[in-house]
Every structure is written in C-alpha cells, then in structure tokens.
C-alpha cells in the first residue's frame, strides 16, 4: 500500500469545481497520476481533506461530494482484500470509477469545444443586431434667456410658500407587482418607453422608486433591457426581442 501523503500539502478550493468528478480529475491530472492505476488511498485522503475544508457548501452540492467520498472509501477498502478471482480474470475495484472519470473527461473536453464555437459565433454579427446609439446630448449648446430663469425662480418661490398641511397621511402602498404590470403593459404598445413616462402620472418619490425596482426586477428576469447613454440622460426601458439572449 502506498504511503498517505499529507493531504494539506495539496490544497484545493472546492468552489472552483463543477462536481466531485471534476475535483477527482483535477487531483489525478495535476499530479501526473496514471488514471489506470490510481493510488486510491492518497487520492481519497486528498478528496476528503478538500471536502473538510469547505465549510459553506450548500446541501445538495455537499451531498454530491459526500457520495463520491463514500465510493472512494469503499474502493479503498476493497483494495485491501485479496481480489476475488472469477474465471481467471480479476476485476479491479477501481474499474467503474475509471470508466466514469474518462467518460466525464471526454464531455468536459466537448464542453470546452462548444465554448470555443460559442465565442467564434459571437464574433460575427447578424443584421438588425446593432442599434444606433442616440447622439449624446452634451454636444447641444445650452440656450436659455433670463426670462425663463426668472420664471423658474417664481415657480420655485410659489411652491416654497405653499402652507404646510397641519397633518400628514400615509400614501397608499405602492406594490412592485403593480409597477411590473405597468411596465409590461407599456412595452406591449411600443418597443421602448422612457422611464420618466412611467413615473410622471404619479410623480411621487415612492412611485419612482418602486417603478425603478420593477424595471430592475424585469431586467433580472431578462424581460427588458434598461439603457442610459450617459449619466443624467433619459433612462429607456426596452422590450426584449423574442429569442434574443
């Protein structure tokens, strides 16, 4: 039996691996181990050490790794006993694991080739994919007259001198589901809608905040795109085209 190398000599981060087979392959390939003659005690120790170090693994993922750990321990035990000979041919307890590892390795390689193809395809554009950017507003010269400024001052002054009401009341609760419906409704009519247009019928801060949350939620669900060409310019909400990622 081979000596068990100190597992701490070989540290791996479990989060990086797509599953127990990925981790096992990493341990085997990175130590130049012959896959047809796996030193099962050493690999088992390293595998268990890797699981041991991962403290916050979600339950389902942890189960997958533990199942493999159990398999490894079982194989290790079987290796200790003299092998049963049937018809003169002895069955290596590692055979099934090796078959699975090789099979998984092939598909991992196939996935890598798919990724290359995906990158290659994404470097070629089809027609209609490019949308012309709106011209930046910053280039437009600012034109205003003193009359307009004075008018604005008067409007502000009028608002400031409105009497404070002697009472406060809580507005109706604004629900995000309501706003999501509103956004989707607006986008059924046209391909895009300006965020300000979604808010203006109400104009209160709470409506604006919840509308924004609704847009972000829809963007997360990949139902809309939210775009702004530069800070402080109009915010646009776009309907996502069917079939577009």
């Amino acid at each position: 039996m081979e000596r068990v190398a100190s597992p701490d000599l070989y540290q791996v981060d479990l989060e990086r691996f797509r599953g127990p087979l990925d981790l096992l392959l990493h341990l085997i390939r990175n130590q130049d181990i012959d896959i047809f003659d796996i030193p099962i005690a050493r690999i088992t120790a390293q595998f268990l050490a890797a699981i041991d170090r991962a403290d916050h693994l979600e339950l389902e993922r942890a189960g997958e790794f533990l199942e493999m750990a159990a398999t490894l321990v079982r194989i290790k035990a079987q290796m200790l006993f003299p092998r049963r000979v049937e018809g003169g041919e002895e069955e290596d307890p590692r055979a099934e694991l090796v078959r699975r590892l090789l099979e998984y390795e092939h598909f991992r390689e196939a996935a890598r080739l798919l990724e290359d193809a995906e990158r290659d395809r994404s470097r070629r554009w089809q027609r209609g994919y490019v949308e012309v950017r709106p011209a930046p507003a910053s280039g437009v010269p600012l034109e205003t007259t003193w009359d307009e400024v004075w008018e604005a001052v008067l409007r502000f002054a009028a608002r400031a001198t409105e009497p404070e009401p002697g009472y406060r009341f809580r507005g109706r609760l604004v629900r995000i589901e309501e706003k999501i419906e509103l956004v989707l409704g607006a986008l059924r009519e046209s391909r895009r809608v300006e965020f300000a247009a979604l808010v203006s019928p109400w104009g209160t801060r709470m409506h604006a905040v919840v509308s924004l949350l609704a847009c972000l939620e829809l963007a997360k669900r990949s139902a809309v795109l939210v775009r702004q060409s530069a800070p402080f310019t109009p915010l646009w909400v776009y309907r996502r085209r069917r079939g577009e990622e």
């Binding site: 087979l21 598909f107 196939a110 070629r124 554009w125 490019v130 949308e131």
Partner: protein
Amino acid sequence: MRASRVVEAVLFASQAPVSAAELARVDEDLDEERVEEAVAELRVEYEREGRAFGIFEIGGGYQLLTRPEFAPVLERFDSVPANARLSAPALETLAIIAYRQPVGRAEIEEIRGVGAGGVLRTLQERELVEVVGRGEGLGRPLLYGTTRRFLEHFGFRSIEDLPRPEELPVVLSQRSEEVKPNGA
C-alpha cells in the same frame, strides 16, 4: 432578375438563417440547386470585393454575418449588451445532450456526477434544448435533444458539424460496453 440578386435580397433582409428550400420558394425560376449556385456566386463576389460580411451556413440555412475581423469595431459600436455566455455546467450538460440525444436527466446526472434539474430548466428556457420524447422504463422519463436555436447559438451547420474531441467517438460507441481500465 438574376438568381444571385434574389437570394442576396432575401438573405440581406432576414435576421435568422434561411434554408435553400425556403429560398427556392421565393421565386419561380429558383430551385435548391440554383440557390446553391447563387450562394457560391455571391461568396466569390464578396470575397473578390473584400466585403465586411459573408454568407455562413448555420442551422441548416444560410445567413449573412459580418466577418470575425470586424468584431472589435462592432463591439465598440454595438449598444446592446453582448449575449450572455453559457456557464460551465450549462455547456457540459449541453455537450452531453448534443452527443447523446435523445437522453434523459438520469444519464446526464450520472455522467456529470451532479444534479441537472436547474441547468436543464435554464437550457429549456433559452430554447437550446427541448423534450423530444419519453424513454422506456420506470416513469417513462423525459428525453432531451438540441434545437435549431442551439445550432444558431454555436454557429453549427447541423448536428453532424459538432466538434469531436479526440477519442470521443470511442466512448460514444462503447456506451453500453464495459471499458476495461487496462484496455485500449
């Protein structure tokens, strides 16, 4: 009107790949063979004139796409966020489905050694895979296969166009047989 111009017009106006059969249907003078000739003619013309686009065969059809060397320019110009790339688990699951289709969830999970429910749902939502039938056995499990959208996403002409990693065909053909660890 020359056949190549008709084909060019349709390809120019289409966002998705158009098959030779679909192209042949747009004009009485066209059949699939003439369409193929027209495509070849256009390709020579684009090549000669050094056009920024070319005709690519994707998902069983023809599509006008820009040439890869213009990617840096378009990336800068394009205001629409680039397609989200698929995650590693999604690519692995897709690879298994692509090479083994029709295939059930149990076999996918067996090969990857991890659960596949969430990934399968995502792939279905993105219309990259679909249920193509039901298997034999307990509960008659759903079987999955790839879609035309899958071919478009990766730019493959057909499912035979899939890249083959070395030795992969060996494993594929021996799926039910025992692979001896000391064999080969």
